[in-house]
């Protein structure tokens, strides 16, 4: 019997190890798996490399993980956002590493990692400082740079509904990076507002097939980052 459901966020993240690369879904707060991130803070793993488009806001979720000193390196496209103070402070004082990646290159590198493509060429960043150190090559008279596939040891993602086989559907634009992160991680952990029995999701509408998902955990009423920030919450 395949049953990928796990009782609690805490139980779902126990094996995340020091130094792991963790892909964290979300674009700003949309799709951010806050409960899984908070469970990871409680769990204690450190020296993490985190891949996310941003760096969180306030002192909850991803920002709280960074503030707790657990993140050695961020790979992201846009580390400055509204209410984002934790990362800038650490970065300015040299206590966290940053790999800045154009947003589309980030999404494509993650997909490539999940699809078995070790490297690909893209026109994005040609002639800019972000081309530095990368191989340039010309196809049909146009310049491209070589980018490498990006994989993770774990992915933490949020979805609307999952079945126990790990099939997932999302809520509107909260989908963003999660489907490609699910493909690219060795172990993908999804929090879902609902965990359903197999057959309760329309096979035509499944966005992430279960093969890409290892664990699903029900978080029936997920918190929203902006609400927690507005409340002045600081985790833990």
């Amino acid at each position: 019997m395949i049953d990928k459901s796990i009782a609690t966020p805490e139980a779902a993240v126990t094996d995340i190890f020091d130094g792991a690369t963790v892909l964290i879904g979300g674009f700003g707060e949309a799709g951010s798996p806050i409960e899984l991130i908070h469970a990871l803070i409680d769990q204690g793993a450190s020296g993490l490399t985190v891949v996310n488009n941003n760096t969180g806001s306030g002192e909850v979720g991803l920002a709280a993980l960074i503030k707790a000193g657990r993140v050695a390196k961020m790979i992201c496209s846009y580390p400055r956002t509204a209410n984002s103070t934790v990362f800038p402070e650490l970065y300015s004082s040299g206590r966290i590493e940053l790999e800045l990646v154009p947003q589309g290159t980030l999404a494509e590198r993650i997909r490539a990692g999940g699809a078995g493509v070790p490297a690909f060429y893209t026109a994005t960043s040609v002639g800019t400082p972000l081309e530095e150190g990368k191989e340039r090559r010309t196809f049909d008279g146009r310049h491209y740079v070589l980018e490498h596939g990006l994989t993770g040891d774990f992915a933490l993602i949020k979805c609307q509904a999952a079945d126990t086989h790990g099939n997932l559907v999302y809520n509107k634009t909260a989908r963003n990076f999660s489907p490609v992160m699910a493909m690219a991680a060795e172990t993908t952990i999804a929090q879902a507002s609902q965990v359903l029995a197999p057959g309760q999701l329309d096979p035509e509408s499944v966005v992430t097939p279960g093969i890409f998902v290892d664990r699903v955990v029900a978080v029936t009423h997920p918190a929203y980052e902006s609400e927690l920030v507005a409340q002045g919450m600081s985790y833990p």
């Binding site: 674009f27 700003g28 707060e29 949309a30 488009n53 941003n54 496209s77 846009y78 580390p79 400055r80 956002t81 509204a82 990362f87 800038p88 970065y91 300015s92 940053l98 800045l100 990646v101 154009p102 947003q103 589309g104 290159t105 999404a107 494509e108 993650i110 997909r111 893209t122 026109a123 994005t124 960043s125 040609v126 002639g127 800019t128 400082p129 972000l130 999302y170 509107k172 634009t173 989908r175 963003n176 990076f177 999660s178 489907p179 490609v180 966005v207 902006s226």
Partner: protein, 205 residues
Amino acid sequence: MTDTGVSIGLSRDEMAQRAALDIPDGSYVNLGIGIPERVASYIPEGREVIYGDPELINAGKRQVTTVPGAAFFHHADSFAMIRGGHIDLCVLGALQVASNGDLANWSTGAPDAIPAVGGAMDLVAGVKTIYVITQHCTRRGDPKLVERCTYPLTGQAVADRIYTDLAVIDVTPDGFQLVELSPGVDYDYVAERTAAKLLPIATDK
């Protein structure tokens, strides 16, 4: 050069309105954050245009309503649209635009700045036509239309047309080509505030 404080040229909303006039019916358009996103409000009646911008609807944290005929897709698909040449037109802000079309709009290169690029490099690399909306000069009065960008580039030779408070200017193989002057503004006024050669409107020759 410093600004006089006198209100000359278009307001930010008028700049957005002017750019909106040039967006063809049925286009797939991406609007950057800031003045560019105001363009959506001014698409002439009867034109139907599809906006696809994950930043507009997400990072801006605005409530956006989906229109009939919308679709959701993941980020790799979203950027496949951008990078695969499927977006017809993109409207972006600028820190500097050079007369060869180089655009700098993500970083001033200040040593203490937190670098952040987002999707700007993907847009200029993948979208067919790039419109820039920007104040003609910085608040300090420095020209933003220059011979060569001094700030880190977003992309090389990417800008097609520039909408400023003072003028509409095309980027041509011969450099900046004045297309249209804002009300109350003449060629010399714009040329003085442009740090590169500015070709006059043909009928002005």
